[in-house]
C-alpha cells in the first residue's frame, strides 16, 4: 500500500502540509498567459521555478510550454533582479519575437522586493521593447494564495493593460474563462455560437493547448485571444465571469476601468450551472435559448434518469479548485449522489459559503478549504468512513488503489491519462460526458469486484 503511512485518526497538525491539494501562484499565471495569442510568459525569479512550472503544464497538457526566466543568480538575490529582467526582455523580443511578454513574479523576486513597474519602465526607456510590442506584468508571490490566485492575477492584468473603452460601444459579451481545459472553453464558445451571441472569450486556450499535430512546431500556436480582441473588451456591453475565484477580480477591474457591467456565474458544469450560464448569456445578449440547446439538455437528463438507480446515494470524495468543485458538487447532489468529502487547498470564504448551501441536506458531508486542507486529510476522512467514488486530479490515484475505489480524473494536474483537453466537461454535452465517466467508473468497479455468481449481462 503506497499510502500505508496514513492514519485513520486525525492527527493534530499545526504547521505541516502533507500531500497538498494546491500548488503555487506562478504556474497559474503562466497557464493564463498562454491563452493570449502571441504571448510569451516570463517567470521573474530563478530558473528552477520556471522549469517546474513548464514541466507541470507540459505533463498535464502534453503540449510544449514556452516561458522565459530571469535566471536569478546569487548576485540577483542580493542586489535585485532588475538587470536580469531588462536583459531578459531584450533577449526575448530579439529571439522569440512575441507580441507581448507577460511577466509574473516568484517567491524570490517578491521577497527581495523587486519593483516590476520600475524595472519594466526602465526596459522601455532602454529601448528593449520594440515598437508596437508590450510588456505586462502581475505579482504572484506563492506564499499568498495558490495557483488559482496566480491565474486570477494574470487575467486581471490582461484587463489592466489591454482593455480600453472608446465611445463606440459594441453589442458583444465578454466571457472571462476561469481555470478549465481548452475542451471546456471550446464547448462554451460553441454554446455561444449556437445562440448566435457575439462574444470575446479570454483567456482562450483552444488551439493553443490542444493544438493539432501537423508536423510543425509553432512557438505561438494559432489560438488565443488576440490583443486586438483584448482591447475591444472595454467596448463590450457586458461581462460574464465564469468562476468566482479566477475571474471576479478581472470583472471588477473591467467595470472600474471601462464601465462594463458584469455578472459572475459558476463554470457551466452540470445542468444547473449550464442553465444559469445560458440564461445569463440570453438575458445580457438579449437572445433566446434555441431549441437545439434544450434538446441537448433533454439528452443529459435522459442519461441521468437511465443511470439514476446506480447514482443514488453514492458517496463521493472530491478535491481540486473552488471554481470547478462548486458546480461539480452541485451537479452530483442534483443527481442524488452524496458528495461527502470536498477539499481544496485554495483558501476561499466564498467556497465555504457555497458548499454549506449546496451540502445542507447531507449532514454527514465535510468540506475544508485553505491551509492544511490537503490530500492527507482527505485520505484520513476516507479511512474513517469509506466512499464509492473519487473525483479529482492524478494525486488521488494512490488513495484509489489503496482503498479500491474508482477514480474519475478531473482538474489539475492529470499526469497519467491523455485526452482531458479534448473532451469537454462543460455544457450539457460535457455533463453527459461526466455522467458517462462516472457510470463507467462505478459499473466497471462492480463488474471486476462483485462475486462471480453476481456478474450480470445487463446492468
Amino acid at each position: 500500500m503506497l499510502l500505508r503511512h496514513t492514519t485513520a485518526k486525525e492527527i493534530d497538525r499545526k504547521a505541516l502540509t502533507i500531500n497538498p491539494a494546491k500548488t503555487c501562484q506562478p504556474v497559474g499565471a503562466m497557464f493564463a498567459a498562454l491563452g493570449i495569442h502571441g504571448c510569451l510568459p516570463h517567470s521573474h525569479g530563478s530558473q528552477g521555478c520556471c522549469s517546474y512550472h513548464r514541466s507541470a503544464l507540459s505533463r498535464h497538457f502534453r503540449e510544449p510550454i514556452m516561458a522565459g526566466t530571469s535566471s536569478f543568480s546569487e548576485g540577483s538575490s542580493v542586489f535585485g533582479g532588475s538587470a536580469n529582467l531588462v536583459q531578459a526582455i531584450d533577449t526575448m523580443f530579439t529571439v522569440y519575437k512575441p507580441e507581448v511578454i507577460a511577466v509574473h513574479t516568484t517567491c524570490l523576486s517578491e521577497t527581495i522586493g523587486d519593483d516590476l513597474t520600475q524595472i519594466i519602465s526602465k526596459a522601455n526607456d532602454d529601448g528593449c521593447v520594440p515598437e508596437g510590442k508590450q510588456v505586462i506584468y502581475c505579482n504572484t508571490p506563492s506564499y499568498v494564495g495558490t495557483h488559482v490566485t496566480g491565474y486570477s492575477n494574470q487575467v486581471a492584468a490582461f484587463v489592466k493593460f489591454f482593455s480600453t473603452a472608446t465611445p463606440k460601444k459594441r453589442n458583444v459579451i465578454n466571457l472571462v474563462a476561469g481555470w478549465m481545459e481548452p475542451s471546456d472553453m471550446r464547448e462554451i464558445k460553441r454554446l455561444a455560437k449556437v445562440m448566435e451571441a457575439r462574444t470575446i472569450l479570454f483567456p482562450d486556450m483552444t488551439d493553443v493547448l490542444d493544438a493539432p499535430l501537423d508536423g510543425h512546431y509553432k512557438l505561438y500556436p494559432t489560438g488565443g485571444t488576440t490583443i486586438e480582441e483584448m482591447k475591444l473588451t472595454g467596448d463590450s456591453k457586458f461581462t460574464i465571469g465564469l468562476g468566482q475565484s479566477c475571474t471576479e477580480d478581472a470583472c471588477i477591474k473591467l467595470e472600474n476601468k471601462c464601465k462594463v457591467k458584469f455578472e459572475v456565474v459558476d463554470i457551466p458544469i452540470g445542468f444547473k450551472a449550464t442553465d444559469r450560464f445560458l440564461m445569463s448569456l440570453s438575458r445580457h445578449a438579449n437572445l433566446p435559448i434555441p431549441d437545439s440547446l434544450s434538446d441537448e439538455r433533454g439528452r443529459l437528463i435522459d442519461l441521468i434518469s437511465d443511470s439514476s438507480k446506480y447514482l443514488y446515494g453514492k458517496r463521493v470524495a472530491l478535491w481540486g479548485d473552488p471554481d470547478t468543485l462548486i458546480p461539480l458538487t452541485e451537479f452530483l447532489v442534483s443527481m442524488d449522489m452524496k458528495p461527502v468529502y470536498v477539499v481544496t487547498g485554495t483558501p476561499s470564504k466564498y467556497f465555504d459559503a457555497r458548499m454549506a448551501e449546496i451540502l445542507k441536506d447531507i449532514p454527514e458531508a465535510k468540506f475544508k478549504s485553505g491551509e492544511l486542507a490537503d490530500m492527507f486529510l482527505m485520505h484520513q476522512w476516507i479511512k474513517q468512513e469509506g466512499v464509492d467514488l473519487l473525483i479529482g486530479n492524478t494525486y488521488g490515484k494512490y488513495i484509489a488503489r489503496d482503498e479500491n475505489v474508482p477514480l474519475i480524473r478531473f482538474g489539475f494536474p492529470i499526469a497519467d491519462r491523455p485526452g482531458h483537453n479534448y473532451f469537454a466537461k462543460t455544457g450539457y454535452e460535457g455533463g453527459a460526458n461526466l455522467v458517462k465517466q462516472i457510470m463507467d467508473g462505478l459499473l466497471d468497479h462492480i463488474d471486476t469486484n462483485c462475486l462471480e455468481e453476481k456478474v450480470e449481462f445487463q446492468l
Binding site: 505541516l16 530563478s46 510550454i65 522569440y96 508571490p141
Partner: protein, 442 residues
C-alpha cells in the same frame, strides 16, 4: 545561425568541424527558454530515493508540489519518500520568519512516522528571510536522537548540477555514523543509480551472481542505516558522473575508498561495469562468473537485438538529456541497434564530457550545452532526425514536429539499464520510430 542566441554560440559545437572546446558550466542567459532546473531540484532528485527518511520542504508550497512523486524511484520497503511534506510558508512567515513553523512541522512528522532520519530542504526564499535552519535541525536532533540533516538548496545558487553537490554533502553527513560488524571484504557501494523502474534491482542481481556483496545503494532504494555504514565498503562504483562524483571524492579523501566510473546503459558499458569490478578485486573466480553472466545474457539478447537492428538501420536520433555521461552511453547503445546520433545535448555536461562526445560521434554531429526548444527543433529539422531522446519538456515538441520520442529521464517506465534494459530500449526506440502515426502527420 539566426536561431541561436549570439551569447550562446560558444555553447554549440559541431563534431569534427571546430576544435574549440565547448563553453559549458555557464549560467543560462536571462530570457532564454532554458530547459534547466535549479539547485533544489538537483538535491531533491538525488536524495529522494532514500525511502526510510523523511523529506520535508521548508518553503512555499510550489517547490514541494512539483517534486511530489515525480520520479519513479522504486522502493522494496517503506514508501515515505513518495509523500510530499511542506511547511507551506505564508506571508506572515515570510515577514516574521518560519523557524517556529519548521520546528513544529518536523516534530509533528517524527511523531507521525518515526523515521530513521530527516532531510530538511530549504528553497530560495528561506535564505533570504534568514531562518536559521541549521539551529532548528540541531535542536531536534538532540531531542529525537535521529539525524536531522539540513539541505540548503536555494535554487538561485546555480543549476541542477550544483544541487547534486549539496545532496552529496547531505549524504556524507550520514556516512560513517554507524558500523555494521558483518560487512564482507569484497563489497561495493552502488552510487548514482536511483532505481528508476527498478533498474537497481537488475544490477543487484548481476553483482550477486558474480559474488559481489553490495553494501549500500546510494541512493536508489536507499536506507539510512546502509548509508551510515557505507564507509565500510571496499569500492564505490559510480554511475552518472554528474550526480555522485563529489560524494565518491569525499569518501576517498576521508575513508580512502577508491571509486570507479561506470555506465549501465548498452551492452558494452554494462559488461565493462561488471568486468571492472572483478578486476578491481583481482578475483579470478569473480571474473569467470562475470564472463559467464555476460555470455548467458548475450545469448539471450543478440537474436532479439539483431531483429531490431535490421529494421532500425539508417534511422537518425537526437539526444538531449540531463547528464552528458548518459548521452555518451546512449550514443553507443543507439549505434548497436543501427541508429546514428546526429545531435547530442545536455543540461549539465563538463568540458571533458563534451570532448569525449566529439571523439565518439560522426563528423557533423551537433553538440549542444543548455539548449532551448527553438534551437532544438531547428537542429532536429536540419539534421533530419527520426527519433528524439529527452525528458518531459522535450516530448511534446518532438511529437509536434512528427518525431518519435523516448524518455530517458525520470519518466521512463521500463528499466533501460543492464542487458534486459537494452532490449527494452531497442523496443521503445522501434515502437516510436516505426509508429504508423508519423505517416499521417503531414
Amino acid at each position: 545561425m539566426a536561431h541561436i542566441l549570439d551569447e550562446r554560440k560558444g555553447q554549440v559545437s559541431v563534431a569534427g568541424a571546430n576544435v574549440a572546446t565547448i563553453d559549458c558550466n555557464k549560467a543560462s542567459l536571462a530570457g532564454s527558454v532554458s530547459q534547466r532546473a535549479c539547485v533544489f531540484c538537483g538535491s531533491r532528485v538525488v536524495l529522494y530515493p532514500i525511502v526510510d527518511a523523511l523529506h520535508l520542504i521548508h518553503g512555499p508550497i510550489g517547490c514541494a508540489a512539483y517534486t511530489w512523486d515525480i520520479r519513479g524511484s522504486l522502493s522494496s520497503g517503506p514508501e515515505l519518500h513518495r509523500l510530499s511534506y511542506c511547511t507551506d510558508l505564508q506571508e506572515k512567515d515570510v515577514i516574521f520568519g518560519g523557524v517556529k513553523k519548521l520546528y513544529e512541522a518536523i516534530t509533528e512528522l517524527i511523531e507521525l512516522h518515526k523515521p530513521k532520519a530527516a532531510f530538511i530542504y530549504t528553497t530560495c526564499i528561506v535564505g533570504v528571510i534568514g531562518d536559521d535552519v541549521e539551529q532548528v535541525c540541531r535542536t531536534i536532533e538532540d531531542e529525537a536522537k535521529i539525524p536531522i540533516i539540513p539541505v540548503q538548496a536555494p535554487g538561485f545558487q546555480g543549476s541542477k548540477k550544483d544541487g547534486y553537490k549539496v545532496a552529496c554533502e547531505a549524504i556524507f553527513r550520514l556516512v560513517g555514523t554507524k558500523s555494521k560488524p558483518e560487512t564482507p571484504a569484497k563489497s561495493i557501494n552502488i552510487l548514482g543509480d536511483f532505481n528508476l523502474a527498478g533498474e537497481l534491482w537488475i544490477l543487484l542481481d548481476y553483482y550477486k551472481r558474480m559474488g559481489v556483496h553490495v553494501n549500500a545503494t546510494i541512493t536508489g532504494d536507499g536506507r539510512v542505516d546502509d548509508i551510515a555504514n557505507a564507509h565500510n565498503a571496499a569500492l564505490n562504483v559510480v554511475q552518472c558522473s554528474g550526480s555522485m562524483n563529489y560524494l565518491a571524492k569525499m569518501m576517498k579523501d576521508t575513508y580512502n575508498i577508491p571509486s570507479m566510473r561506470v555506465s549501465y546503459f548498452g551492452i558494452e558499458d554494462m559488461s565493462d561495469a561488471l568486468y571492472d569490478v572483478a578486476r578491481f578485486f583481482k578475483d579470478d573466480e569473480m571474473m569467470d562468473k562475470a564472463r559467464e553472466l555476460v555470455k548467458e545474457e548475450f545469448a539471450k539478447l543478440m537474436p532479439q537485438l539483431t531483429w531490431y537492428k535490421e529494421r532500425l538501420t539508417g534511422k537518425k536520433a537526437a539526444i538531449y538529456v540531463g547528464g552528458a555521461f548518459k548521452a555518451i552511453s546512449l550514443v553507443k547503445a543507439l549505434r548497436l541497434i543501427g541508429v546514428e546520433t546526429v545531435i547530442v545535448g545536455s543540461q549539465t555536461g563538463t568540458e571533458e564530457d563534451y570532448d569525449l562526445i566529439k571523439k565518439l560521434c560522426n563528423e557533423g554531429t551537433i553538440i549542444l550545452d543548455d539548449s532551448n526548444p527553438v534551437e532544438l527543433s531547428h537542429f532536429v529539422k536540419e539534421k533530419k532526425a527520426d527519433i528524439f531522446i529527452g525528458g518531459v519538456k522535450e516530448r511534446p515538441i518532438a511529437h509536434k514536429i512528427g518525431l518519435g520520442f523516448c524518455d530517458h529521464n525520470h519518466e521512463r517506465k521500463e528499466p533501460l539499464a543492464g542487458y534486459e534494459g537494452m532490449i527494452n530500449f531497442a523496443k521503445e526506440i522501434y515502437a516510436t520510430a516505426m509508429s504508423p502515426v508519423w505517416k499521417f502527420t503531414k
